[in-house]
Symmetry: C2
């Protein structure tokens, strides 16, 4: 039987996995709201971010409590300090879903996504959801091959992001400045939330190997 | 005479202040590069970000070392964990300066800033530099009235950010999609780096009072 200290440590890990599940779902729903100009769905993403924020505060409080009362050393200390960073990545991922939902809300009843970019945004949304959920699996399993896969998924996201710019900067762009502003911001949000998932993958690699893989990409 | 432990703790604080000075300077130079289409200056911002990144790694290593070897409790523990977050805010601020400089580089020899937005971007750059340097002063002094001032400066930044959108979405916008994309991204970078300064102000408030002022605004 595990003692309460290790139960608490495990509880923090489980909380992080739950946050990634919620954040992945938020990103997926925000994408649908964006594509379908679904105001109700957009509002639900915005309102439900509070659940992610509450988990954030609860995990942070638990980690601080363990740090202060148990004075963990070596591996456990690293897990706690790393958890205090991953919880920020996941909270922030929820925020990006909210930002996407707010674009949908602002442009309702129109869709913020021009017809020719629908498939790219759909793919970005699917890639984003997948990468966030995968970040949760990496936290749970500490599987470094999955972490490497996640980082490759981010390359796919970067290519999709590039396609948005190619379309907007083409001479055939006919959707005006407002659509360009919205697509620029939406593209940035997808890219950034994928960056946070990559940061999580790298943080877990650090936990497993004790070595920073790529320091620059670690920070958010 | 102070012992080596408290010297190290102070050293971390001094490192954070130095990072904010460097980041403030980077933001200021990036703004000039953007306005004057100054390629050399843009390159220097990009290259010199490495100094900020090195400081980041060094402070992080020192904080981990103290956490592991000294097992600080209560106030000192809070300082260390908070420092591990502020160092990320400041590293990220340097990255935003690099992003701004890269816009300047991409558009060189043209300026990415249309004539009618020059004064707004100039003011955003000055506000940004001021707010980042002020974040350093808040770290050094723990002066909560200065922290409150910084948060008001961020309101000014939000208003300036709003002016960019008003200009871009006006029917008289005549600079095309490429300029709109660049201005959208630049505006976002200024806004985000000011957010990180606000996060620092709130983290210091938390250190002083032990209470989170506004949890949502704390996270980056």
């Amino acid at each position: 039987m595990r003692d309460s200290y290790h139960d608490q440590l495990d509880g923090i890990g489980e909380g992080l996995v739950e946050m990634s599940r919620l954040a992945g779902s938020a990103v997926s729903r925000a994408t649908t709201a964006l594509l379908d100009a679904d105001l109700e769905l957009a509002e639900s993403v915005i309102v439900r971010d509070d659940v992610i924020n509450q988990l954030y505060r609860s995990i942070e409080a638990q980690a601080f409590d363990l740090l202060a009362r148990q004075q963990p050393v070596a591996g456990d200390l690293r897990v706690l300090v790393t958890s205090l960073r991953m919880v920020v990545d996941l909270e922030r991922t929820g925020d990006y879903a909210v930002h996407l939902a707010k674009i949908a809300r602002r442009r309702h009843p129109a869709s913020a996504v021009p017809p020719e970019l629908r498939s790219t945004i759909l793919e970005m949304g699917q890639t984003a959801q997948g990468i966030v959920v995968k970040a949760g699996s990496v936290i749970a399993s500490r599987d470094l091959s999955l972490a490497a896969e996640l980082i490759r998924d981010d390359d796919a996201m970067d290519r999709l992001h590039g396609k948005l710019f190619t379309a907007m900067l083409s001479s055939t762009w006919k959707y005006g400045t407002e659509a360009a502003v919205d697509v620029t911001l939406a593209g940035r949000y997808y890219e950034r939330l994928a960056d946070h998932a990559v940061a999580i993958a790298r943080r877990v690699s650090y936990l497993v190997t004790g070595e920073h893989v790529d320091e620059d990409a670690l920070v958010d």
